[in-house]
């Protein structure tokens, strides 16, 4: 059981994601970017290289200056998304990353630098990020 949010939780998801070859095809695959995760005041930085998520570290707000984009939601919204993924063995139609992004006035994915080329990586690798969070259905999460 891993508590969300924590490096331990992201590491557990990484292990499932990296070990599942099925997510390396079907629109998944090479993904090279640095993505931030902002859970309320907590910040985590995930590194994606090739077909793997190679690292997850706890960071601070300043680290968000350097990521390509970051996903920003209140803890309750993160909890709802992860619980939904767990209940449905993957996000249902109302809880995919893209849907959550478009339903928010300011979006789910954003950046400090404002460079749309880098922010577009969220769209370019969207299936990979969805696979990543869907992998959390296979771990036990505590909030």
């Amino acid at each position: 059981m891993a508590k969300f949010p924590s490096v331990r939780w992201f590491d557990a998801v990484r292990e499932v994601f990296n070990g599942d070859e099925s997510v390396q095809g079907g629109g998944g695959g090479y993904c090279n970017c640095i993505a931030g995760m902002k859970v309320g005041k907590d910040v985590f930085v995930l590194t994606f290289e090739g077909v793997e998520c190679t690292e997850a570290v706890k960071a601070d707000d300043a680290a968000l200056d350097d990521v390509d984009f970051y996903l920003d939601m209140a803890p309750a919204d993160w909890r709802e998304m992860i619980s939904n993924i767990h209940s449905n063995n993957g996000a249902d139609r109302h809880h995919t990353l893209n849907t959550l992004d478009l339903e928010r006035e300011d979006g789910l994915a954003t950046s400090h630098h404002g460079d749309q080329y880098r922010e577009d990586l969220f769209f370019r690798y969207n299936q990979t990020f969805q696979y990543f969070f869907n992998a959390s259905a296979r771990i036990r999460t505590d909030f």
């Binding site: 079907g26 090479y30 893209n98 979006g107 404002g114």
Partner: protein, 355 residues
Amino acid sequence: MSEAVDTSGEHELDLSWMDQKGPWDTKAEESRYGLTLADIQIGEYGETPDVSDNLTGRPRGSAPRPGSYRIGNYAVRTKNEIWLDNASFLYEEALQRQWSSATDVPWHTIEPLPDDIEQAECQLATFFTEVEFVAGDVPARWVSETTPDFFEARQVLLAQVMDESRHMDVFRKRAMANGGGLMQATGATSGFVGSIDLSRDFTEMSSRLHLSGEGAVLTMFRMGELMAQNEAEKAMYRLCAQDEARHVAFGVMHMRYMSAAAPERREEIHCYLDEAEGQIVSGVGNPAARGGPVGESLAILLGGGKDKFDEGMNMLTAIRRRQFREYKKRIVSAGFGERFENGRSRLMEMFEEAA
């Protein structure tokens, strides 16, 4: 027993071709992602000329063949007309992230829908099938116009053609998968979208296709994922959006390179952007604009039915604001942001008039 035939002198081998070669002793080594195009940019093989005089189809780095015929009348032989710094990377990414419309879309999740929803979805599928014809045809034409010396950019365009081909078939499949079918053609291949194919210059084409056109369609694919009625549509739109974002990346990076390498063409590029903003981005040329079969279909799908059209239209307007913000930031990223500072761009003004 017959005598052995004397064949001496008839099979002298001419091995002079063995002396005709490009730089030798080349040993490319694979990186952590396999043996990529970036890994074979070694020595002279990795050198691209600023201007190419290669009209014979000679692979870059191979030994020239004196007296060979000209097989290509390549219009694009100046590097800054087509180049981008991350072409090799985008190509490998495109190959690695391919998907199948036959097996990667869970078609079995589609179930009967109310008539108005099915008709709106089929209208949208008809529109996308039309648009993707243009998006496939246009880069294909420019591939054959480009010297083999700039093969990395050509490879990305070829991968784009494959992507667009898949988009054409996936929307056709969707139209026919749930008791509906194709609707009336929207005429999307005429007007501004069709005019992309009239471009006389690659950068003109890229500004219209990759930045303005595909940027707008990217938002529509993302909307498609938002309003999907089942997992099949969800996957279909999400996967198409990924491909489209890669095509947009080509446009942004090409504009960056062009802007730095040929600043004398900046004013010309601004003129293309003026035209695009007046039509496909904020005007009636935008398929997500108010009215018309596509705009109305989007509003019906976003709202959840004909009876919730106004609600859907409000959502569509909100999403179009995001579409504009993203377009604006992409133009800034491409190096042409001054148009939003000096009053040249009337983007938001035009949007408010059209909304």
